[in-house]
């Protein structure tokens, strides 16, 4: 390693600081999840697993977690099932209006979630659709559709169309070609965006906020708990979520690595 210029050293400082900024909160969260004192300030009290025990015994929280898993899974499946064909059409067909369609489908990505949330709320109310998990799933699918569409579109734009021609040339019809050639080609984009959809849905608040009925999702549960004052249980939940995310990330990375 040769010696660093002044600006490289400065850069290193900024980067180091940013990394601290990114990870300090996570460290705090984890540390306080093992701290016995219910009021969260330094110095630390004793080490304890109590908060984890409390989390695991908290029925409302577990129900909310279950709901979140249901919502995130359904929303993910829907975004993939709707998003992939949408991306295919946008990529394949040169028709007037498709550009507008693409922009529309991508709009909720940059639009504050609250706007989508209240649009849905207005809509459900006019139709008399009851609020609840179903309503949330529809809301999430719509809000997150753009993730799958944009990722798959990016991949499709790099996808070699010749491969599809080669497949047809070798006797496979369009549907067989899709499943045997196109799908494997965009597989990692689908998995990647599905994972992202899942995470964002699992974490979603602004749309959910307006659409929950009886059923709470985990973030909504945490949100209402937070509004009623902090308890270190939240830190324990947070630590568990981080752990689960890490497992998910490592799994997805190693899953995607082998083939591309």
């Amino acid at each position: 390693m040769h010696k660093l210029y002044w600006w490289q050293r400065g850069l290193l400082g900024v980067v180091g600081g940013t990394m601290v900024y990114l990870y300090l909160p996570i460290v705090v969260l984890v540390v306080f999840s093992f701290n016995s004192n219910a009021v969260m300030s330094l110095p630390l009290a004793e080490f304890t697993f109590d908060w984890y025990r409390k989390v695991l015994a908290n029925e409302a929280m577990l129900t909310a977690l279950g709901n979140s898993l249901i919502v995130a899974s359904c929303a993910t499946v829907l975004t993939v099932v709707i998003g992939v064909p949408a991306a295919l059409v946008i990529d394949r067909y040169r028709l007037p209006g498709l550009g507008l369609f693409r922009r529309t489908i991508l709009l909720p990505l940059s639009l504050p979630g609250i706007v989508t949330g209240i649009a849905m709320l207005n809509f459900y109310r006019q139709l008399g659709i009851p609020l609840g998990l179903g309503a949330i799933i529809i809301g999430h699918s719509t809000a997150l559709l753009g993730i799958v569409v944009s990722q798959v579109l990016t991949r499709l734009s790099r996808f070699n169309r010749r491969l599809e021609e080669a497949s047809q040339d070798l006797g496979a019809g369009p549907i067989e070609t899709f499943f045997k050639v196109t799908l494997p080609g965009i597989r990692s984009a689908i998995i990647g965006s599905a994972l992202l959809s899942f995470t964002l849905s699992f974490d979603e608040i602004p749309v959910t906020y307006f659409l929950t009925g009886r059923d709470n999702t985990l973030p909504m549960y945490i949100y209402s708990t937070l509004r009623r004052g902090i308890t270190p249980e939240i830190n324990a939940i947070g630590t568990l979520i981080i752990l689960a995310s890490l497992v998910l990330i490592v799994a997805s990375v190693s899953m995607l690595k082998d083939k591309d």
Partner: protein, 290 residues
């Protein structure tokens, strides 16, 4: 129609059917309904269908809404600036200073991982850190920098900016990283070859070529921060109300959905304008690197 054209349109209908129906039903119509409701009238105890522009007039005439919009814009802009100031060096470091791809990918993951940790929790931890009895005050007292815990860190706009910046940094890093990644190292060598040192090479080659990523990241960060309503309620103080909170209030306590819908419509239009402008300038910055 030739058989071939028939196949073409059949395929189109088959693939496009579901997405079209879904998007119309659950995206276009809801926005349309929202627009429609924004013309309704609040009438105690609820609101009634109508067609009048009073709500929009109120949004623009009553200074409280403009004030909130401006404050929200200011905070979102500051968040974008800070996220850029921290995110760009980070992305630059990953691409140009880190030598081995393995380390680079690992560090990139390290930056992205926080994105996967619940948004809410990431916002709320700052409450623990910035509070009067919080980690930061404890640290500063321990080091002797201050002898009384300061109340200046939490429950104000600074806290909101710190929190929102923290939350949205990954959204800034990702597009910039992607843009920087696409810059062929050859171009930087070419610049050196033509006599330009590292600093000017950055200004003249790297920065312009990553402009698309900067614009994309800034737009995303701005729009997301603009619509946030959680951070204000967790770490914001009495002066921290953002436009999303105002909308929330109209759909909540104020029970004035028409006004809330009008506000949302205004936000929608604002965001559309920003996206359009950003797409323009991104296209300007988007240079064919092939």
């Amino acid at each position: 129609m030739t058989p071939r054209q028939k196949r073409y349109w059949l395929g189109f209908a088959g693939v496009f059917g579901v997405p079209l129906v879904w998007t119309s039903l659950f995206l276009l119509i809801p926005y349309a309904v929202m627009l429609a409701v924004s013309f309704w009238t609040r009438k105690f105890p609820l609101f009634v269908p109508d067609f009048q522009f009073g709500n929009f007039r109120q949004v623009f005439a009553d200074p409280q809404y403009l004030e909130v919009l401006l404050r929200t814009g200011k905070i979102a802009a500051l968040v974008s600036v800070f996220a850029l100031a921290l995110g760009y060096p980070l992305a630059y470091f990953l691409i140009f200073i880190v030598r081995t791809a393995k380390v680079r990918n690992f560090l990139y993951m390290v930056v992205i991982v926080p994105l996967w940790v619940s948004y809410l929790l990431r916002a709320y931890v700052w409450k623990i850190i910035l509070g009067t009895g919080g980690v930061l005050n404890s640290f500063l007292m321990w080091t002797g920098i201050i002898d009384q815990p300061s109340g200046l860190f939490l429950y104000n706009q600074t806290a909101m900016i710190i929190t929102l910046t923290y939350i949205f940094i990954p959204f800034m890093v990702m597009p910039i990283y992607t843009a920087l990644e696409k810059i062929p190292p050859r171009l930087i060598e070419a610049s050196h070859d033509l006599g330009e040192g590292p600093f000017w090479t950055f200004l003249r080659v790297v920065l312009p070529l990553s402009w698309g990523g900067v614009v994309a990241g800034a737009t995303l960060t701005f729009c997301l921060a603009f619509g946030d309503f959680v951070a204000p309620s967790l770490v914001g103080g009495p002066d921290g109300m953002l436009v999303a909170n105002t909308v929330q209030t109209q759909f909540g306590a104020a029970l004035n959905w028409p006004l809330g819908s009008a506000l949302s419509t205004v936000i929608l239009l604002l965001v559309l304008t920003i996206i359009t402008i950003s797409e323009r300038s991104e296209r300007y910055g988007k240079i064919d690197l092939d």
